[in-house]
Amino acid sequence: MARITIDPITRIEGHLRIDVEVDGGSVQKAWASCTMWRGIENILKNRDPREGWVFAQRFCGVCTTVHAMASVRAVEDALQLEIPANAQYIRNLILTGHALHDHIVHFYHLSALDWVDITTIPRADPARAASIADGVSNWPGNSRGELEAVQNKVNGLLGSGQLGIFSNGYWGHPAMRLSPEMNLILFAHYLQALEFQRRACQVVGILGGKTPHIQNLAVGGVMNAINLNSLATMNMDRLGTLQSLLQEMIPFVQQAYFVDACLLAASYPEWFRYGRGVANYLAVPDLPVDAKATKFDLPGGVIMNGNLGSVRTIQDWHDQPIRAAVAEDLTHAWYSGDGAQQPWKGTTDPDYTNFQDNGKYTWVKAPRYDGQPMQVGPLSNILVGYASGHPLTRKWTDAAFSRISANGPKLTPDALQSTMGRYLARAIRSAMLSDLALEHWQLLTDNILKGDDTTYNPPQFPQHEVVGVGMHEAPRGTLSHWVVIDKGVFSNYQAVVPTTWNASPRDQRGNPGPYESSLLANPVADPVKPLEVLRTVHSFDPCMACACHTLDVSGRQIAQVKVL
């Protein structure tokens, strides 16, 4: 029995530690621990709810907009305040731009190198690589010339002996199985992705006034002025720029990213058998298409025990069961208290002990739904959408299945409940979002052309206590901000974030969270190079920056693996 500690596990952001016990080449026990304290909520107490979002979007440097959005939605929910249709569409376009950016960065820059071995690229034949890529996609960045140029850059990098940030990869690991040509194609897109990140930032910047940290939100709508006759406001010129940016991004999402994810899935079919973990899934509806938020373009729902037939759809944000079902368990987290707390009554008082296998061992609370751990993220979106017959989800999921079956396994939605399923679901969701981005651009443009220029309904704060919850289906999954407002100030604020659901520790009944249970039976060929553990954990797109925050910033630590 070997015990492996991987700390930190995220490539860039965050402070996640994973401990696994390995025996006979696979994981027997796992613990997910966040090593930094989270004190976000305490900062918001006693503040004016109209400015809460400005602070909330500083929770995390990467997912800024999502916290801003959840915060205004929470206050609007507490006040039962409807926002104008234009405000819904503008928010939706920001959310879509941000999500596309985030998913592209995750696939290429934060996780591709778990599967792509760049040290084989010098052996690739660029002509053959170009013909493979041309066979599956019409993406213009797959030309032989382009691939040769990338190969030369990699040759230069490897020849210099200064691998820099690429020196931490598990190069030559037996679990790396792509051909040199496939590695070249994926790494070429890795570099091209940088350009499309910029486009997504521009979309968010044009609408949000600034990125990161958008400036255009308000409790009650958005602060974008709309006047087709003014040069200084949202006008046809600016709408045209937005449309062009979206049209430039879509081919990369649909012809590079989506296709690459399908190629990866076809090349590593065994990863549809590992990493299932907690098979309870939660997604909330998002991208409302009307002012009252009664209809949504992304469906929400709950699936228990991996039984897709049992899906319960969540129609809208007023859904009573979810409000009653969510609680955060503190038993194994470094906060004072035991058992579960409803978020409106939640507390965040630090109570640090050491890492105790059977006691408290993380700064992350354990969110539960009717007492059960839940998995959130793109996989939950796709499973809920597929199970409830959502046409756009089915269109892209079926397209992925048909691509993969061409030279890989024949898949069913059930197979998505796995490590590779999470990668694939994120790509399917991105393809859906790239369709929806243009649809919501059209909704906004049509509504403005109809003569509607309203973007804001002013809030009124009652003197008595009100409670609200703001829901958002963020790139990493269901995000909810729970607020209590008394006499016009926050008297409590709790953010239940996607990574808290997924990185959750055990609860008072000893049930492990999704990361922990997904690692059980995960293969580990070489305990000193636990690449397979990283694959499963990275499939969740972990970001601990908002799940917990920093108390001590003294360490510039490169991922460290300890075998005890």
């Binding site: 860039i12 500083r58 440097g61 960065v105 820099g164 940030i165 940088l194 910029r198 510039r556």
Partner: protein, 217 residues
């Protein structure tokens, strides 16, 4: 046939000549410059970067080719903001053996060669990784300068320390000097704009929190 009487031909000659004239007299394209603040404003002295760029923007006016921006703690999402730029000046908190409040100026080489010693705050891996990606993509900034400060404390929900707050006003002058030395248009405003330091405001009185006195922009 006398071709010079062909009006379309005449127009073509004129265009060629005009193009040549424009080419000879054309100024090189303006350099793309970014002054970036990094750090989390909710974490005490980690907010040095955002504070410094906000004060810089309020005191100095730059050409349209200079963008002054607070990027928070973007991690790898820093890359799009460095992509294809000529000069980048980053204000950030850094770890060093110097005393809290000390200003330390680094160039990109320091970041690579002294990576182990030069530890920026929690978000630094994003800077190193972003630069590595951009180098491979051929879009790395031509010059990168870090204006760092040694923090006293970066605790969540804590205010900025007086030492780091005063260091930021020196950093503002340092940034202006770095730009002027490189012939970047950067002028002191005749009347300074009031800086928007929303994260330092007391949430009841809406004025700068009482722990800090003697504030000047």
């Amino acid at each position: 046939m006398n071709t010079s009487s062909d009006p379309s031909r005449l127009q073509g000659d004129f265009r060629l000549e005009l193009n040549a004239f424009q080419h000879e007299t054309m100024l090189p394209p303006p350099k793309r410059i970014r002054v970036i603040g990094l750090g989390n404003v909710l974490m005490g002295d980690d907010g040095f970067g955002p504070l410094t760029v906000e004060r810089f923007h309020c005191k100095y006016e730059c050409g349209l080719n200079v963008e002054v921006i607070d990027l928070g703690t973007p991690g790898l999402d820093l890359a799009p903001y460095l992509h294809g730029t000529d000069l980048v000046v980053i204000a950030d908190a850094v770890h060093s053996l110097e005393k809290p409040g000390a200003l330390c100026i680094y160039c990109e080489d320091d970041l690579i060669t002294q990576g182990a010693q030069l530890r920026l705050t929690a978000h630094d891996p994003g800077l190193v990784e972003s630069l590595a990606h951009l180098r491979l993509a051929g879009e790395i900034p031509s010059e990168l300068i870090i204006v760092g400060v040694v923090p006293e404390s970066c605790e969540f929900g804590k205010p900025i320390s007086p030492a780091v707050f005063s260091a930021s006003s020196i950093a503002v002058e340092k940034i202006a000097g770095l730009l002027v030395e490189r012939s970047v248009s950067c002028f002191r405003r005749s009347a300074a704009l009031p800086p928007n330091l929303w994260w330092l405001l007391d949430h009841r009185s809406k004025s700068l929190a009482t722990w800090f006195t003697g504030f000047t922009s």
